[in-house]
């Protein structure tokens, strides 16, 4: 695994100290920076798991038609136009004219009439196999409507609905006639309401004794108690006969027709796979040749809100295929980005790229497997990028891993690879983000040219850092500390010493805290002068993964 830095999102938990990285469960709370959001009101990081999501618009992924939210429910979240999925391979179907039956090979110019069929250009399935043809290539959904209406599941559902509807009406009528007169206006209203809500409220009244008092449907029966209600339901419910015998239908679970089917099977491909079958909730077709084309389900564009303050974090544009956003609060615009570079890997890769020069991609030698040999000391570099328009001062600190004294303590300790990290502990500044033309030409500093540093940076430079760099810059190449600064990036070096018997990955939690001076009116609402700049700080945890450790035996075997 390439070295990576993942950011911690506390996800509204009370403690924002992340779990130690050697625990397998810790991986769920760390995310790459480009998937995180930042709420300005709460001043907190939000991830995809803790935001509250709501749908902004719906569109069909095939015709890209934006479906208004009102008709989404009517169309059962599917595209109502000509978009269908092949039941075999889930590819989109195209409406093509069926081949003419005549032996005449030539296609007459300008004529493409004739019955149309749906055809999949990946697996060559076509709707003629199940006998569905169309007269014209548009409005396929309407033409298929009559097939769908006569399907056994929708007929069954309609009959069920009629049955319960009739029963609900009679029970409501019974309740109202036994009640007082002045409730009749209420009941005429409730009769006009949705029969589904009436059924739901009756069911609720039955199950929870207290609710019936507030239910206008049951209000009239308070005098009689709830026993009458229950007995009314039990007595008057007529028995429902289903339209077709379930056991006799093929595919509905082990009945006679299924057994006959299995007996006469010739190859496994005749039976539909589970993925192909569960689109249909009623009777799943068992044979592949019975599978019908499926309407394409709609996709949605979502807007996301902070769970704590309901501030909008992401608000997409109305147009279905536009990738711009009206509001986009990404964490990458607020938190410094961190990239890890391992110099020893880079040297290996540089040699490789020289060897690969001129070779085609297929013939190139692959990258060497990443890893660090146990018992050695390696240096790594953290490349931090400042996205803000103000300079920031960053301080890094490695989180101490608490050794647990629980009964499973020894096992935990063995799993935790022993290594020591040394990072610069002093604060170091990073310049603000600005357009490329604003930077001076030769800002490539190696820590020695402090004069140019003093010009460009302003007052955020701390004297200790400058002094430290002057001391070490010329003596020997530094590995720990600020290595380089350019534009709005700073490279900081660190070292890791790996123990001799270490195993696993080198992973450690790192706390990054930075302070910045904000001059804008945000400081004004504290009651201070709006123009007074105040120092604000923010901190977040990250997990740094430097890669696996190659044990010394393996390294010796490779050599």
């Amino acid at each position: 695994m390439a070295p990576s830095v993942l950011y911690h999102c506390p996800c509204l938990s009370t403690s924002d100290i992340p779990p130690p990285p050697h625990l397998p469960s810790s991986s769920h709370s760390f995310h790459p920076l480009n998937t995180l959001f930042f709420c300005e009101e709460c001043d907190a990081v939000r991830c995809n798991r803790c935001v509250s999501v709501e749908v902004s618009s719906y569109y069909c992924p095939n015709c890209l038609f934006e479906v208004p939210s009102a008709s989404v429910r009517a169309e059962k979240n599917r595209c109502a136009r000509n978009c269908f999925m092949c039941p075999n391979c889930r590819n989109t179907l195209a409406a093509v004219p069926a081949d003419p039956e005549s032996g005449d090979g030539r296609i007459p110019a300008g004529v493409a009439e004739g019955p149309y069929i749906m055809y999949c250009n990946y697996c060559r399935w076509d709707s003629a196999e199940i006998g569905i043809t169309f007269e014209k290539p548009t409005g396929l959904a309407a033409q298929l409507q009559k097939y769908e209406d006569s399907a056994p599941d929708s007929l069954e559902f309609d009959r069920l609905k009629e049955h319960f509807d009739a029963f609900l009406r009679t029970s409501a009528l019974a309740a109202s006639t036994s009640g007082t007169h002045h409730h009749s206006t209420h009941h005429s209203h409730s009769l006009h309401t949705n029969s589904i809500t009436a059924a739901a409220s009756a069911a609720l009244a039955r199950d929870i004794p207290g609710v019936g008092k507030y239910n206008p449907l049951a209000r009239s029966t308070t005098g009689r108690g709830y026993g009458k209600d229950r007995s009314v339901n039990k007595d008057e419910m007529t028995e429902y006969r289903s339209r077709s015998e379930i056991a006799q239908t093929a595919g509905a679970g082990g009945g006679e027709p299924d057994v006959e089917l299995m007996n006469s099977l010739e190859e496994v491909g005749e039976v539909a796979s589970l993925e192909q079958r569960w689109e249909n909730s009623w009777v799943t077709p068992l044979q592949t040749k019975q599978l019908k084309p499926i309407r394409i389900p709609l996709h949605s564009k979502r807007s996301k809100r902070c769970p704590a303050c309901t501030h909008i974090l992401i608000k997409p544009e109305q147009k279905s295929q536009s990738v711009r956003y009206k509001i986009k609060l990404m964490a990458a615009n607020y938190l410094p980005g961190i990239v890890i570079v391992l110099p020893h890997m880079r040297q290996l890769r540089d040699e490789l790229s020289k060897r690969n020069l001129g070779k085609s991609v297929a013939a190139q030698v692959d990258e060497p497997p990443p890893g660090m040999v146990a018992g050695n000391t390696y240096e790594f570099q953290l490349n931090l990028t400042n996205p803000l328009y103000d300079p920031i001062e960053v301080r890094l600190s490695v989180q101490r891993v608490h050794v647990s004294t629980a009964p499973g303590g020894t096992a935990e300790k063995a799993r935790r690879p022993p290594f020591a990290i040394s990072l610069p502990t002093a604060k170091f500044p990073i310049s603000p983000f600005a357009e490329a033309w604003e930077y001076e030409d030769d800002e490539d500093m190696f820590g020695v040219e402090d004069d140019e540093l003093g010009i460009g940076m302003g007052s955020s430079l701390s004297a200790s850092v400058r002094g430290g760099r002057e001391k070490d810059g010329r003596a020997r190449p530094k590995t720990v500390g600020v290595l380089e600064r350019k534009a709005n990036k700073t490279v900081v070096g660190g070292e890791v010493v790996i123990g001799k018997e270490a195993q696993g990955n080198v992973k450690f939690n790192m706390l990054v805290s930075y302070t910045y001076r904000s001059d804008d009116a945000e400081g004004g609402d504290l009651g201070v002068h709006p123009s007074k700049p105040e120092i604000r700080r923010f901190e977040f945890y990250t997990v740094v993964d430097l890669g696996p450790i190659i044990s010394r035996e393996e390294a010796r075997m490779d050599l």
């Binding site: 480009n34 095939n62 990738v323 020069l357 380089e484």
Partner: protein, 193 residues
């Protein structure tokens, strides 16, 4: 010499003799087969790698100047790629249709692309097959070894994989900036040896 520590990715080296650099910054390999170059438009800073075949000669019948293939800025056509405009027989007439590719599009090695329209910030993997008359919208990522059947429409911000290519997941909202930074960084690192 290990280079500046600030560049986190290694430079991608090429031999200077192999690539022709135009004044708009396009780098075209001499070993790429470009047919009909007068019908091909390259936006600036596009890299066409060796072994790729771009058929600008398959133009639709008709008078005048026709643009057959147009590529945007900061594009990368990988090695061994084939870019061929799609064709259709409609009412007895056979015709080629122009292929339009947006900015910041990276096409992996050995991919066959016959799509009609590719949007901006699209990343296509290696060994893919993009069928005829495919419409790929913006900020799409297509995994390696995907086969996209003809006439597919790929909506924006999706990740497609498999064969036939199917929708896997939505990409994060910051995809546009990430892909833009990646393609610009790639061009900056693409240096003569």
């Amino acid at each position: 010499m290990s280079g500046s520590a600030l560049s986190t990715e290694p430079p991608i080296l090429y031999s200077k003799a192999e690539f022709i650099e135009t004044d708009t910054g396009n780098k075209v390999s001499r070993r790429a087969t470009i047919a009909g170059p007068q019908n091909i438009i390259l936006g600036g800073k596009t890299i066409i790698s060796s072994g790729s075949i771009i058929r600008g000669d398959l133009r639709r019948t008709g008078p005048g100047h026709a643009v057959v293939i147009s590529l945007g800025r900061y594009c990368l056509v990988g090695e061994g790629c084939i870019l061929r405009p799609p064709y259709k027989t409609y009412r007895g007439n056979f015709n080629y249709y122009p292929m339009k590719i947006g900015d910041h599009v990276h096409i992996g090695a050995n991919t066959v692309v016959e799509a009609a329209n590719i949007g901006n910030h699209v990343e296509i993997g290696k060994n893919c097959v993009i069928g005829k008359f495919t419409f790929i919208k913006d900020c799409v990522k297509i995994a390696d070894n995907t086969v996209i059947p003809p006439n597919t429409v790929i909506p924006a911000l999706s990740y497609y994989a498999g064969s036939p290519g199917a929708f896997v997941e939505d990409l994060p909202e910051s995809t546009q900036e990430n892909v833009e930074a990646y393609t610009k960084g790639y061009y900056a690192r693409f240096q003569p040896a």
